[in-house]
Symmetry: C2
Subunit: 212 residues, 2 copies
DNA sequence: CTAGAATTTTTCCAATCGGTCAAAAAAATT
DNA sequence: AATTTTTTTGACCGATTGGAAAAATTCTAG
């Protein structure tokens, strides 16, 4: 009892698996050196196959890169999408920060790939930023403005609030090396994410003003 | 007769000027595509000269890249160095944030070059991070801890405080394209840095808790 | 087993890469 | 003006790049 029926264009199990292996290897390479700085040979070696063999599964370098990018922005914005207008404002924002921080912890390569793309000016990504991304942010900004109007949270520029959440959380993926270097051996372990979470909780809740 | 005392190496005016032109062009290119993603041809064209001519002034690609990096980390950390232990804590921190934000506004390419270097794992930069950088941060962390012990500012992890300042300010250089896309035409102008400064002032002072 | 399809390897290619070298051109020095 | 030094150019080199073609292999269905 085979679950898959006979199709005229059968995508074999091997195809699916190898494509996954290649994308995984490509993520490793692209996230470090960016698109132009990465070579197909490099990716092929990381994927454990020859270059022509890799090119049998993906026609070009672009064809490997594109699906990685497409996949990322979507999952990247999921936490923001989940910010609930009906929830309690402060916990809602805290939860967003926590989720975003977890993504930096669990998917640092994806974060770095995204950063690399931004650094070179996000070619072929530009449109999505101005449409999908902007629309989503605009929508959430309205929600945040609502919360501010109700006095549930302090008034502040909601756009820059979102930027600051992106920045502080992604920093732990993109600048991981610097973070670990500065924290040193004792503080630089996996516990650094919990320290970061605690700090960010306080920062976004109360800032640095001393308690009275 | 070797006159090594008078003019051991006459560095001409042209040499200095052209080297500056090259470094300027290289900053443009390297900050976008990183070291591996940039080509000497690209830099030469941006500098308005032929590749062999450029290589007359810098022996190799590395020789163009290295001085750019060396120059950056130094100027980059200047604002942190200037944080005065004798000053008022909160204004001192606010001033640091403001300076750092101004650097993102005035030297975005330098910020992006640095980010590119972090993304690829900071090779040949690694030592400096663990020595010079870490020492400086450790020193400033002690100062901040002192302020916290005196009750001048709220208690929070000083390392992650510094990270959050780096992250939030550099974000406006490194993710400039995303920031401008999201802010749109009206809000995305040069005024965005003043909006950011205002927001960051509030964030680091009071966070988001509503006023009572 | 055998035919046909799917996969892998070998070989190859034109373009680009970082970089060299000698000669020409331009400045500077005498 | 003659000479020396500095700067620029053009031609070139071996290595690497992204990618194509085709043969060789492996897999799969009948």
């Amino acid at each position: 009892m085979t679950t898959d029926a006979e199709t005229p264009r059968p995508i074999t199990r091997i195809q699916r698996e190898k494509q996954e292996v290649i994308l995984e290897a490509a993520l490793d390479v692209f996230s470090k050196f960016g698109f132009r700085g990465s070579t197909i040979d490099q990716i092929a070696e990381a994927a454990g196959m020859s270059k022509p063999n890799l090119l049998y599964y993906f026609k070009s370098k672009e064809d490997i890169h594109a699906p990685l990018l497409a996949r990322i922005l979507d999952t990247w914005l999921e936490p923001l999408r989940e910010m609930d207008p009906k929830g309690d404002p402060l916990p809602e924002i805290q939860s967003y920060i926590r989720r975003k921080l977890e993504m930096s912890r669990d998917f640092p390569r994806e974060s770095r790939l995204f950063a690399n793309e931004m650094l070179r000016g996000a070619p072929g990504f530009y449109d999505i930023l101005h449409t999908d991304l902007k629309d989503l942010v605009d929508e959430k900004v309205k929600i945040i403005r609502g919360w501010m109007a109700e006095g549930k949270i302090a008034k502040a520029d909601p756009y820059h609030l979102i930027f600051s959440i992106w920045a502080t959380t992604q920093h732990y993926a993109d600048f991981d090396i610097q973070v670990k270097a500065v924290l040193g051996r004792e503080r630089g372990g996996e516990g650094r994410f919990e320290d970061a979470a605690r700090f960010l909780d306080q920062l976004f809740l109360h800032g640095l003003s001393p308690k009275k």
